[in-house]
């Protein structure tokens, strides 16, 4: 912030803002979280006990469509960041809301998918495959949901014009998180759905 440059404590040694550096570190930590969950799934995906196998229940075309929706939300997120840099409030609200809607579509698809799998006989405690599948994709779904809450909350706060600090940076930070969650989904989609056991 310009008015604080006279105070040495506010000048960052790396040139990156504290918030941005902190967000990158947090995302680095999140890599290990998903690393642990993915490893668990990869270890257990073939252990189905008496329950259904992955090949029997996965609906690849359906999940491909919902994955595509999630990836498109990264595009709208970029448009929101771009609008924020141009100080275009209407654009910010429009693209943040669109991103949230696309994210919600993805989560809706996941809820549908979970319901369908459950009806086909794959419960959380049916088999090791079931436990680890729901845990991994569930954690990802929770991350997307948290992202949606952040997006909608930012829109609401922005409409009241009470975003503390730098608005474009706040949008950018949610953007970093959102892109990270999308990238994780690309990995999960490939490893979980596309690579056969």
């Amino acid at each position: 912030m310009a008015e604080t440059t006279t105070h040495d404590a506010h000048v960052s040694s790396t040139g990156l803002s504290n918030v941005k550096l902190g967000m990158w570190l947090f995302l680095g930590s999140e890599c290990l979280l998903f690393g642990g969950l993915i490893s668990t799934y990869m270890l257990y995906r073939g252990r189905v006990s008496d329950g259904p196998t992955p090949e029997q229940i996965y609906d690849i075309p359906f999940t491909s469509v919902s994955s595509f929706v999630l990836l498109m939300s990264s595009l709208t997120m970029v448009l929101a960041v771009s609008a924020a840099q141009k100080k275009d409030d209407r654009g910010i609200n429009l693209w943040l809301t669109t991103t949230a809607l696309l994210g919600a579509t993805f989560v809706g698809g996941q809820v549908y998918e979970f319901t369908a799998f459950y009806n086909e006989g794959l419960g959380f405690s049916t088999s090791l495959f079931g436990s680890s599948f729901y845990t991994l994709t569930g954690f990802h779904g929770v991350h997307v949901t948290v992202g949606i809450i952040m997006l909608l909350a930012l829109v609401a706060i922005n409409k009241r014009s009470s975003v503390p600090g730098s608005k474009s940076e706040t949008v950018e930070m949610i953007g970093l998180y959102w892109h990270f969650v999308d990238i994780v989904w690309i990995i999960i989609f490939t490893l979980v759905y596309l690579i056969p056991v």
Partner: protein, 667 residues
């Protein structure tokens, strides 16, 4: 309130300023208005000041140290004689599980976090950490986690699966009480403290150094604690996954560790030790940092080979990720894995050895001053080396197979953790006490404290080498006279010695507690620079003012404070004093920044952290309670998001401008 302080000189202590006119908050964030108390308990509860948070970490950790110590004494009383009757088997399991959990997660880690919180901003010339509210949130998470873990004592029994909580002992069949549920959820909450603390301190160190302080001019304590924060940043999420899997298994019927359902019993061990081995360095590196500060000061010499200490610390940080399976040599990993991890474990002894050499050569030829802090630092070098050497014997896999799960292992990790980590922390107490409280700890009591601890610790843990090599297993609640052996290797004798040693150790700790009370009652103020110290944290008053430095110092040297006091004589090449500490400080005060902006206190970190234990209890007992906890957290998050970190004038009624310490106008 926006705390905007005008610097006041400390050297001639000013009369207390007239109380500023009462300021009342006008704007709400959520339903709560800004906290305004600057004194009393409210000023601690809602503080975001890194020094107050550091002290709260320290005080809480000290409490848990006493709890964990009493658990240890009970364990030793049980094992002092054959067929011990002090504890039954079930209680004994809880006791050793909680002793380790308490000492690792609720004493050493938070005590190091307390020192890091207090001294890193001071050592790098900053006024606070990067995220003061997240810092406060971290402390409350640690406290909440500690309470949840220990709550189990009163609600049906504590966790009883060992601190490593191996499957299948962690399953409901072998541990039907709720102890392990409390343990897993409590550690999860305490883990949030470590994770947020790691992000906060890394950003602080990378972004908020005083002008001129390049990375290679940072004090070694700051360096090594930064390495620790990177270890935590990447290790905590792994234990988070493991704890989630455990909670899902125990509370929601998942099968992750259920061997009957085809689960792999090694999954938990791998996840736990991928976290657990970096964790070992999380426990020791802060103490290495402390003695690297203490030894040069009391040897009157700069640290020998500063870059080697720094880079060997970073090397430990990297290699520490490649040795986890040496905890699992006996689990049938296969010869290739065992060989790889065995060699990596031998390799990690090298950067540790480098540090031992550096410390020794720092003392070599120095004018040694054996203050209590110095005694503990030298004690660390000797005792840690003994523990390090027995550690190397574990890296030899065939030998380790014999030692696994015997008291030999217990002897090893107590030499490195007690002789290493704890001695380092005690060196830190005696060295930094005058900085934190403005009074010197009593050196006579300190000496008793030190000698009782050294003798007690060697009596307790030394004999365990013999017990272990004789085959006494860990975690057995009784041993029998019939199988005690004879002569020098009679385990009855050595068990008794170890138990007496633990009481000697307890007396040593008691001397420390007495010392705290005696010092608190003493009226003698510590001099400004009692140890003739070298680094920036001493370039401010004792205790430091809320804003730490009146003007941010410009740094030209490693050991900047020393180089402001001493210059090299061009003829004799000896260092001669050119300024006293008082003169250096007076110089800073003359150049004081006219207005200093400090972050404002906040309710939200505490409110958010209160929600977490409520959710944890809800997971164990009732979903409704968890939902209530979730709403508390959601409410706090919104309040937090809407509240600017530094209060603006419109947050208050009638902003005051005439007070001594309070003004809300912008400089």
């Amino acid at each position: 309130m926006a705390i905007i302080e005008r610097p006041t000189p400390v050297l001639d202590i000013p009369a207390l300023p007239a109380a500023p006119p009462a300021i009342t908050p006008s704007r709400t964030f959520g339903a709560l208005k800004r906290p305004v108390a600057s004194t009393g308990w409210k000023s601690w509860l809602f503080t975001v000041d890194h020094k107050k948070i550091g002290l709260m970490y320290g005080a809480t950790a000290l409490f848990f140290f006493i709890v964990g110590g009493l658990e240890a004494v009970l364990i030793r009383l049980q094992l002092a004689a054959p067929e011990g009757k002090v504890l039954n088997a079930d209680l004994y399991n809880q006791m050793f599980t909680m002793h380790a959990t308490t000492m690792v997660f609720l004493f050493v880690m938070p005590m190091a976090a307390g020192f890091a919180n207090y001294f890193i901003p001071l050592q790098i010339g900053a006024r606070d950490v990067a995220f003061p509210r997240i810092n406060a949130f971290g402390f409350w998470c640690f406290l909440g986690g500690g309470i949840v873990i220990n709550l189990a004592w009163f609600l049906g029994g504590a966790a009883d699966g060992g601190w490593f909580m191996y499957a299948p002992n962690s399953g409901p069949v072998f541990s039907p009480s709720n102890g392990i549920d409390f343990w897993a959820l409590g550690l999860q909450i305490a883990g949030i403290a470590s994770l947020t603390g790691a992000i906060n301190l890394i950003v602080t160190v990378l972004n908020m150094r005083a002008p001129g302080m390049s990375l290679m001019k940072m004090p070694v304590f700051t360096w090594l604690v930064t390495v620790v924060q990177f270890l935590l940043l990447f290790a905590i999420p792994v234990i988070t996954v493991a704890l989630f899997l455990l909670t899902f298994q125990r509370s929601f019927g998942a099968q992750f560790f259920d061997v009957a359902a085809g689960a792999d019993p090694l999954l938990w061990q791998h996840l736990f030790w991928i976290f657990g081995h970096p964790e070992v360095y999380v426990l020791i590196l802060p103490s290495f940092g402390i003695v690297s500060e203490v030894l040069p000061v009391f040897s009157r010499k700069p640290l020998f080979g500063y870059p080697f200490v720094v880079f060997s610390g970073a090397a430990i940080g990297f290699v520490g990720w490649g040795v986890w399976a040496h905890h699992m040599f006996a689990s049938g990993l296969g010869p290739v894995s065992v060989a790889v991890f065995s060699v990596a474990t031998m390799a990690i002894a090298v950067p540790t050895g480098v540090k031992i050499i550096n410390w020794t050569l720092t003392m070599w030829g120095g004018k040694l001053v054996f203050s209590t802090a110095m005694k503990f630092a030298v004690g660390l070098i000797l005792l840690f080396t003994i523990g390090g050497l027995s550690g190397v014997t574990h890296s030899v896999a065939p030998s380790d197979t014999q030692q696994t799960d015997t008291y030999y292992i217990v002897a090893h990790f107590h030499y490195v953790l007690f002789g290493g980590s704890v001695f380092g922390l005690f060196a830190g107490f005696y060295y930094w006490w005058p900085k934190m409280f403005g009074k010197l700890l009593n050196e006579r009591l300190g000496s008793l404290n030190f000698w009782f601890m050294v003798i007690g610790m060697n009596l307790t843990f030394g004999p365990m080498h013999i017990l272990g090599l004789q085959g006494q297993p860990r975690r057995m609640y009784q041993w029998t006279e019939a199988r005690a052996g004879e002569g020098f290797f009679n385990i009855a004798f050595w068990n008794l010695v170890a138990s007496i040693g633990s009481l000697v150790l307890a007396v040593g700790i008691l001397f420390f507690l007495i010392n705290i009370v005696v010092t608190a009652r003493s009226k003698v103020r510590a001099p400004l620079d009692p140890w003739n110290a070298r680094s920036l944290e001493w370039m401010t008053s004792n205790p430091p003012k809320e804003h730490n430095f009146d003007s941010i110092p410009k740094v030209d040297h490693l050991d900047e404070f020393f180089h402001r006091k001493y210059e090299e004589d061009p003829v004799t090449h000896t260092m001669r004093e050119v300024a006293t500490a008082e003169q250096v400080l007076a110089e800073l005060e003359r150049n004081a920044d006219p207005h200093i902006h400090m972050p404002s206190p906040s309710y939200w970190p505490l409110v958010l952290a209160v929600g977490l234990p409520v959710v944890a209890l809800g997971v164990i007992y009732s979903t409704m309670v968890a939902i209530v906890g979730g709403f508390i957290m959601l409410y706090a998050i919104y309040g937090w998001a809407l509240e600017p970190a530094t209060a603006v004038a419109s947050d208050f009624d009638t902003p005051s401008t005439n007070g001594h310490a309070v003004s809300t106008t912008h400089g």
